[in-house]
Amino acid sequence: MEFGPVWRAMMRNKGGYFLIAVQIAVTMAVMVNAFAIMQERSFKMGRPSGLDEANTFALVSVGFKPEMDSKALISEDLDLLRNTPGVINAVATNSYPLRQGGWSEGLHREPGVGKSVSSSAIYFVDEHGLETFGLNLIDGRNFSPEQVSWDKDSPDPWPATVIITQALGEDLYPDHEGSYVGKTFWFDDDNPANIVGVVERLQAPWPSWTGVERSMLVPLRRESNDVRYVVRTEPGYRDQLMLQVEESLANSSKDRIIRQVATVDEARKLAYLGDAAMIKILTFVISLLTAITGLGIVGLASFSVARRTRQIGIRRALGATRPAIVRYFMLENFLVSSIGIVSGAVLAVGLNMFMVQAFSLTPLAWYVVPVAMIILWIVGQVAVAGPARKASGISPAIATRSI
């Protein structure tokens, strides 16, 4: 390889090569950090909510008669839903994961004002909540029907039993090893709750909340004219049952309307709309920047070929084969790309360290920088291939032509 002569020749014409190296370095730094953001967003979007998402939908019943017996209507509705063929189970609840609206509470390890140590999303459900949501109970037991109470507004007092997520247990009792079942914490300074079960996962309704994995099921039905039902169906029946259930509920009572019929898949799309858009934008930016860098390399190489037409002819006359001319330009590009890529890698890591500190971004995965380096090396070599091939076609006879 002509490493030495190529390098020395480049050093006598630094300007253009320096600018391309800077462009590659900036591309590398932006590419790596944009990819890190995309990766983080992608990971966030890919987290399971804990629900059987593919087979679950929700709807809201809005009663418009103030004097209606909402408690009776909810019981009838639940009977209707649970007895519909294809429905695995159904529950009346205040919210569900990914809905972006719900209830949260500060939690205390001991009673008293200002002693909150954690917080959690609250899902009011009955003993059917566990199966309707499709949760994996990893410790303890489900609620018994007797433990489920009715309430109209804010629970007062709070039910004495709850089922929590593993993540909530770890946050509430960071030093505790072993089962959380049987442990007690407090709502609202003085409402004790006993943990009867632990589920592996149940996300809060707000996917961007830092405590998204902390939530609990509280055995309570809320007596209200506005009720949200969550329905879990047998696989493959969801879409069909959504229409059927909406019609059945609407027909069962003329004192309400059924609205907000939506799958959890739709809720997921809405919840991560911003993240998905960010990924698309960053993909576009990375692609654009890489393309511009590639075009810059094509431009520099084309200029270099045009400027050195005679020199290439001389090299051919002196015995260079066509592949040798291609190799020359490939090597030249490899050298300038390497300077840009290595500088860019340092810049990328530095920028990432800053972003981790300033914006709590996840540190780069170990493979991102090497992968980006390989991509940019390939882009450089592909970009220079055209001009290099053109150069190799220059006739050696040009060496004998007068200037």
């Binding site: 020749a9 006359a317 006739s395 060496a399 004998t400």
Partner: protein
Amino acid sequence: MLNMKNVSKVYRTDTVETHALREFSLTVEEGEFVSVTGPSGSGKTTFLNIAGLLEDLTSGTYELDGRDVSQLNDKERSRVRNEKIGFIFQSFNLIPELNIFDNVDVPLRYRGFDAPERKRRIEESIEMVGLGSRMSHLPAQLSGGQQQRVAIARALAGEPRFLLADEPTGNLDSQMADSVLDLLTEINTAGTTIIMVTHELGLVDRARRNIFVRDGRVSDGVPELHLADLAAG
């Protein structure tokens, strides 16, 4: 050593056909110093290009060292150019970004010699042309005569079977030209075959045989009238 028989070269465009060489036949024996002269447009440079395998011929045969080289592919032609032929050009054709050492190194790298062998050959050939102290200089830091000497060193470093020189003193003053010619004579005396395209009378006198080219055809000896033209111009 070099044997061309009925070589023709035709340049074609959409509308024009130019016959640069017609039925061109020439034999050059090993150790000869041949000058090729002729008026402008007579086909001298085309002959040089074909002899140096820089261009294809249209018809005829060309044997070099007993091997038919007229039908070689690009890779083979490059190898023959590199191993058997040394080029000396009118405008020196050194690579401006490379120093003297690296310039002489160019054909040796294509030859595939290892680094110690290349170094030995480069130093020997540069010493031979009297520029041993200028190895790290760039071409622009040398006079025209010195640059032509570097070109000669580059041509000789690969120990070619023959040298093709295209107006080797065309860009030099008379003193420098003499010194370059002395060097070429010395190289020829040492056994290297030289074919030199020129229109300078002083150079024709140095050659042992003169070839005159007119209208793409060759004839031995230089016609008197043409010698007068050369002397005048």
